[in-house]
């Protein structure tokens, strides 16, 4: 049962990732990316990470993709990738490079010495992560808020109209 779910979800993930990089229209790419993020959220659920699955849907598929779709609507791209490609030779190298990278990563994933399996965590998922965030990872957590504030100020500065 779990195998069936894994195969179906990973086929959806791979297909939507290929659709993202192969479709010429940017808005189709955005929709493919939403499907990809949703399938990865489903994989998080299978791995017992309920909190991350919810955060993935809310933050990625919700907030970040809305931002992307807004940018695509405002800029209306798509005319750039018609016409001759000035760097065609270099771009043709992408496929062998990508295949080589995939081979290296897959060999590492399959043959690497895997650490001993630990025991499953006790308690609820959200409870455990909340406790960790506010004890062991308190300082990085606070740094995240500073980072988000800095990003917000930077975006306001960049998007302001030059008077």
């Amino acid at each position: 049962m779990e195998w069936v779910a894994f195969v179906i979800i990973s086929l959806i993930a791979l297909g939507s990732a290929l659709g993202l990089i192969l479709k010429r229209n940017a808005i189709h790419g955005a929709l493919f990316l939403v499907a990809n993020l949703g399938s990865i959220a489903a994989l998080y659920l299978m791995l017992g990470a309920e909190f991350l699955a919810a955060a993935q849907v809310i933050v990625y598929a919700g907030a970040i993709m809305v931002l992307f779709v807004f940018a695509i609507m405002v800029l209306i791209p798509g005319k750039e990738e018609t016409g001759p490609d000035p760097r065609r030779v270099w771009r043709l190298l992408a496929l062998p490079l990508g295949t080589a990278l995939l081979l290296v990563l897959a060999v590492m994933a399959v043959t690497g010495r895997s650490p001993a399996a630990g025991r499953p965590p006790v308690g609820g998922n959200v409870e455990t992560i909340g406790r960790l965030l506010f004890t062991d990872y308190l300082f990085p957590f606070e740094l995240t808020s500073v980072l988000l504030l800095a990003a917000m100020v930077g975006v306001l500065l960049l998007a302001r109209r030059r008077a």
Partner: protein, 101 residues
């Protein structure tokens, strides 16, 4: 019977490679950004798979931080793209060679 972590890692490797190819072959900066999101998600998936295998929630905490950083990165990156579009009226990464040697 449950799926071993190796299969999740192989899937993450495939998604990461697709993201790398997307960054190389596409000329639209928005699509390049989306391919980068794909790569970040592949890394997140391997974090969660390792955390599941080790029985430790620390991997999930790292993924939480990656999500926050990705949100900040997308906001700043899209603002930069919009600013470039205002300046140039075009949107192709091949035009942006001012700071290249």
């Amino acid at each position: 019977m449950s799926v071993p972590a190796t299969y999740y890692l192989a899937l993450a490797a495939a998604l990461f490679s697709i993201g790398v190819v997307g960054v190389i072959i596409r000329r639209n900066p928005l699509v390049i950004f989306m391919s980068i999101e794909l790569m970040l998600n592949a890394a997140n998936l391997s974090f969660v798979a390792f955390g599941h295998r080790l029985g430790s929630p620390d991997g999930q905490v790292v993924v939480f931080f990656v999500m926050a950083v990705a949100a900040a990165e997308v906001a700043v990156g899209l603002a930069i793209i919009v600013a470039i579009f205002r300046l140039r009226r075009r949107l192709s990464v091949d035009d942006l060679n001012l700071m290249r040697w």
